[in-house]
Symmetry: C2
Subunit: 308 residues, 2 copies
């Protein structure tokens, strides 16, 4: 059980990127900007606002430049862009992203399917990006997809994850994200791996990225927090998902996570009523229900009238 | 974090009762019997098979006698019936239920709304039932609804819950269920209350009943297990729900719970592939999707073919 409730849990809101990228419905640029601007007022210190990926690969996010140009930046908020390669880094810098999130899979098979290159080639490309970004104020974060399991290969050797963490650090990438890309993590595994990674990475530089594909997302957050992790990705409404598991949940749901923190007394600094309002607007924006529970159930403090 | 993985987690399957009672679609008696018979083969030691409540109050379960008469009982499986009053107890005994589950809310307001009587009157009625059942082999369990929060009153005083536990024990009711009727519990609260209750109730006699209304059901299971609880209610597919939160999840989902246990190494003795098969049949039976995640996503070991 968690015994330290004194430290803030930092939520990085990823709905504009990991949430929207899988949506079949085109979300207008103005609506993306409006969503990010509202999220910027909700108390997040970090928002993954978009990606600079090939528009053919991810057409839903092909308007990255316009989104970054259009948003109203709030002081103290870091606006992150996911980038797959040097060209993406160039576009992101031209769009004044504060931080670039690079991604490679721990699974060779998944990296080939997702990035269309071998892991060695991904790392070589990251070296070029680090060199390109050097001398700017832009931060770098390296995500390790399929850290906790691969839908093609199954279990991932923990030593391999540690080796990738080291490889990122040797390249000069300071931030590390352990990503449970298709929701295969369990709390015992999370506890073990987070403790190992925290021997090499400071809690301030480590992010955990969980999906709720098999219903364990928040269990994994609690296990990671107890093991010392303090920063978590989450998506409004639980947006996102996995093309291999249609109908299953996506990212852990931001408002469900913030509610959990509020209820057990972990500070997040995030405005839950505003999140609920935004989440309840998602079905109209996207044309379908979203997985988050709290927006449907309401908070505990939203009492019901006594039946007569 | 859980450190003791050596003890079995006992799952009481409640879908035939707490799952079906809220369903608007009538499930034929033969289909209920078929479901229970399949569940009886899946390795459960306890199944809440129905209730003997007024057919006007819960028409979906008005065929309790026929269900109990029609099922094929497996050795070692305890078939439980929920009963609201002495008349229900008489019907349950005539139907050879192995155990009667009595229920009263910790919240006076909720008990008035749900049972149409004050808590004192519920306790008096339980006294009559204990007397009536005395001398038979039938076991008694007392559920405390709204243990972790009431949708009308809000927070529930933990001392009040402890007093009800004592009142149940003084009446001679051995089994105790702490029920989070509308999904208001959080892991910190669960940890604290379970430890207190286990000072008075043996782990073999204590059941935790969680709903996933706000996405915290499995987090609460882990907190309760870590605090020493070993028996949990769950419903196939995550059936059930709360009339005050339409669209929100119901009971914690049995197959999601069993998968969690399998993944972290806690023994349940339950056949997960059979559960998944049964869960995947629910939408056809009920006419709607169900909340459980695992049936949509598949197990971690169900690998996907490598993309060409």
């Amino acid at each position: 059980m968690i015994t330290d409730f004194s430290e803030t849990l930092i939520v990085q809101e990823v709905s504009p990127r990991d949430g929207l990228q899988i949506e079949p419905t085109w979300v207008e640029t103005v609506d993306k900007i409006a969503l990010i601007d509202q999220l910027s007022l909700a108390g997040f210190s970090r928002i993954e606002a978009g990606s600079f990926v090939s528009p053919k690969a991810i057409p839903a996010l092909r308007d990255g430049e316009w989104v970054f140009k259009g948003i109203t930046r709030q002081p103290g908020v870091i606006y992150v862009a996911l980038i797959p390669n040097l060209k993406g880094a160039q576009r992101a810098l031209e769009s004044s992203a504060d931080e670039l999130n690079l991604v490679m899979s721990a699974s060779q098979t998944h990296n080939l399917a997702n990035m269309r290159m071998r892991c060695e080639d991904s790392l070589a490309a990251f070296g070029e990006i680090v060199h390109y970004v050097g001398g700017t104020q832009v931060r770098l974060n390296g995500s390790i997809a399929t850290t906790f399991g691969c839908p093609f290969e199954g279990k991932i050797d923990e030593d391999r994850v540690l080796q990738i963490v080291e490889a990122y650090q040797e390249l000069g990438i300071q931030g590390i994200t352990l990503a449970d890309t298709t929701g295969m993590a369990n709390p015992r595994q999370v506890d073990r791996l987070v403790r190992r990674v925290l021997q090499r990475v400071s809690p301030a530089d480590l992010t955990l990225h969980f999906h709720n594909t098999r219903g364990l997302g928040l269990c994994n957050v609690l296990a990671a927090y107890e093991a010392g992790a303090r920063r978590f990705d989450a998506a409004l409404g639980g947006l996102g998902g996995c093309p291999f598991a249609p109908g299953a949940s996506g990212n852990i749901c931001t408002e469900d996570l913030v509610n959990l923190c509020d209820e057990i007394g972990i500070h997040t600094g995030i405005d839950l009523p505003l999140l609920l309002k935004l989440s309840r607007g998602l079905p109209a924006l996207l044309g379908h229900e979203v997985p988050g529970q709290l927006a449907k159930a309401g908070r505990n403090c939203d009492l019901h009238p006594t039946p007569s």
